[in-house]
């Protein structure tokens, strides 16, 4: 597909109107606040606020959600720098350099660099997204059921292989999620499965309530058990943008990390936390002063922050062009697209090319909005992270339930939310990762429907699965990624343990 320049310019015109800009500002501000509050992740923020977009036009809704996504990725760095707690998992790497800088009295410099790096990464991610996703989608137009099946399998294999401490628990979570996704009418013959005779289960567990439960309500149960006051460093936030010298000093890392972040974001299943840690490691290896890392080196801060924001643009590429989310947040966004009657995938470029370009434009504008709001509100956001948990946590519960109810005005959805909240809490407590479930809910039906479609075409001959080159490559990659992760499991575990120790040491001292 040719890149359509005139449509691109027209889309900027459509997005650059007071109404849409206002919505983006609201989204970005909400995103920064959500991101900066520890325990409230970007995934949770988007899931919690999707209900606010019911009944709004697609452009407004999606612009707001993209704004939340970008804002939250930056917001995580605020609490990482000021209170040693990552606001979102993606900001965990930011603590390692950000907090020592703040302790040295350079909180202003660290915050300014975090904002600029987020902006820089976001722009690179958005640019790559704008030019890469039409290409990927035109490529994907050739995809048949076999390729889609292979793609889903590849996505699932990546999620499982990166799902954290225990590979086995990641596998269990993924297969459990896939089983949940098979609840309801089966995609080919329409036979109702595992519905326990409930009408509401016929279409499977409702997506948004399930998400809100898994990611928001579970956190409420987690949060009420904690006590203790948050201690914030006295920070002198006198700087809005990093100095020219700092930018020049970090420029190489900014560029490299933005590309790494976009690339990792584009791999289905890998999200901002991984992008940030990999870029951070890369920056440390290539830095002229690796010994300064861990003691407040601004290069490390710049690379982790630019990577996690670049990741959001990258994660949009497979979402828009293939209908496969790149990370947990885009999985939630997929739900928002479907509520708007838009099915992401190559056909979106055929049927709604206007909205696709408007998404490119609003993603780009969101970065600028983030830069300005971040500069203007830097002192305010530093205060927001001290908001009283005893008020916030119950309010999140109420908002979760209301959001779950609002879509279909159905009390069943409220119970679903609570049930998944309890499930999510128990799983988190015992180290079962939650993201595999979320992605399984999307990739499961995709894998099954396409597998069975392929079987219809071949009249039950499984060799059709190996008849298409792209599909064979994708399945090969799936096997490789699984094999690699099993092989390097020990190494990954050791490194994770080391990261955790460093974080703990930082938090304890």
């Amino acid at each position: 597909m040719e890149f359509n320049w005139s449509l691109m310019l027209a889309s900027y015109g459509t997005v650059f109107t007071p109404g849409v800009l206002f919505i983006i500002c609201v989204g970005v501000t909400a995103g920064i606040v959500i991101g900066s509050l520890p325990g409230l992740t970007a995934t949770m923020g988007v899931a919690l606020l999707v209900p606010l977009t019911f009944g709004r036009p697609p452009l407004e809704s999606l612009s707001m959600l993209l704004g939340i996504y970008c804002g939250a990725m930056y917001g995580g760095s605020i609490s990482a720098i000021l209170i040693r707690t990552p606001g979102t998992p993606a900001a965990a790497a930011t603590i390692l350099e950000g907090y020592p800088m703040a302790r040295r009295g350079e909180a202003g410099r660290a915050m300014a660099m975090a904002l600029f790096a987020s902006f820089f990464g976001g722009i690179v991610g958005a640019l790559i997204m704008t030019f890469a996703s039409p290409v990927v989608s035109s490529f994907a137009l050739e995809f048949g059921p076999v390729e889609y099946f292979a793609l889903a399998i590849f996505g699932l294999s990546v999620i499982v292989s990166i799902s954290g401490r225990s590979l086995i628990k990641g596998m269990m979570a993924a297969f459990f999620g896939l089983l949940i996704s098979s609840i309801g009418f089966d995609p080919i013959s329409g036979f109702p499965r595992f519905t326990f005779g409930l009408m509401e289960m016929m279409e499977g567990p409702p997506f948004i309530p399930t998400l809100i439960g898994l990611f928001a309500v579970s956190e409420v149960f987690n949060e009420v058990q904690k006590t203790g006051q948050i201690k914030q460093l006295k920070a002198n936030l006198n700087q809005y943008l990093p100095s020219w010298a700092d930018i020049k000093y970090c420029f190489k890392h900014l560029c490299r990390s933005s590309f790494i972040g976009t690339f990792i974001g584009a791999i289905p299943g890998a999200g901002g936390d991984i992008a940030a840690f990999i870029s951070y490691g890369q920056a440390k290896r290539t830095s002229k002063h690796p010994e300064r890392f861990g003691h407040g080196e601004i290069e490390g801060l710049a690379s982790s922050e630019s990577a996690n924001n670049a990741c959001s643009g990258g994660a949009m590429i497979p979402l828009l062009s293939l209908g496969v989310p790149g990370d947990a947040v885009t999985a939630v966004l997929l739900g928002a697209f479907i509520i708007q009657g838009l099915q992401p995938g190559p056909m979106l470029y055929k049927e709604h090319i206007d909205i696709v370009y408007q998404i490119f434009a609003s993603m780009m504008l969101a970065q600028f909005v983030m830069l300005f709001i971040g500069m203007a509100g830097i002192r305010l956001f530093a205060k927001v992270i001290l908001v009283d948990r005893a008020i916030l946590t119950p309010a999140i519960f109420v908002l979760s339930m209301v959001g779950a109810f609002a879509m279909r005005s159905n009390v069943f959805d409220v119970y679903t939310t609570l049930a998944f909240g309890i499930l999510g809490y128990v799983m988190m407590r015992y180290d079962y990762p939650l993201s595999p479930i979320l992605l399984a809910l999307i990739l499961g039906p995709m894998a099954e429907a396409n597998l069975r479609r392929a079987m219809v075409i071949s009249a039950g001959d499984p060799s059709i699965l190996f008849s298409r080159p792209i599909a064979v490559v994708l399945m090969g990659l799936a096997v490789v990624s699984l094999a690699l992760s099993i092989k390097s499991q020990k190494k990954v575990e050791a490194r994770l343990a080391e990261m955790e120790r460093t974080l703990e040491k930082e938090t304890a001292s």
Partner: protein
Amino acid sequence: MKVADIFGGALGILIGAFAIWEGTKMPVDVVMKIGPSFFPNILGGLLIVFSAILIINALRGRSKGKVEPYRLSDKGTQRGLITLAAGIVFCVVLDPLGFIPTSIVFLTFMMWVMGKRNPLLIAVTPALITLAVWLVFEKVLSLSMPAGVLADYL
């Protein structure tokens, strides 16, 4: 974590077995050879396999990570259980009682559970939060909330 892993594995095996057992009751497709039960059978089977590995690892003392056991005397655990109970009550009474009263009572109670004792704060904040949520959903977004006992007044 050892006991927890064995328990989690056992639960996984049960869920997998249930999926396969339910699958035996589904019709078989003659054309494609694979019917509605094909996918759940594979998933259930693999869930059982990995659950079994988890149990075996736990028995061989290879469980990873630590988890603090629950103690009923622990304040955090108590708050967690109270929240769970309050959450269930919230869901049950939401429809008959209506959103506004349910939400105000729930927020007041939870703020108290989480250690707020300032009477003015406890009296005003829940009402303000509830009103804000209600206004946004009901008036700005025109999404209906359960009206319950206030149905005649809203």
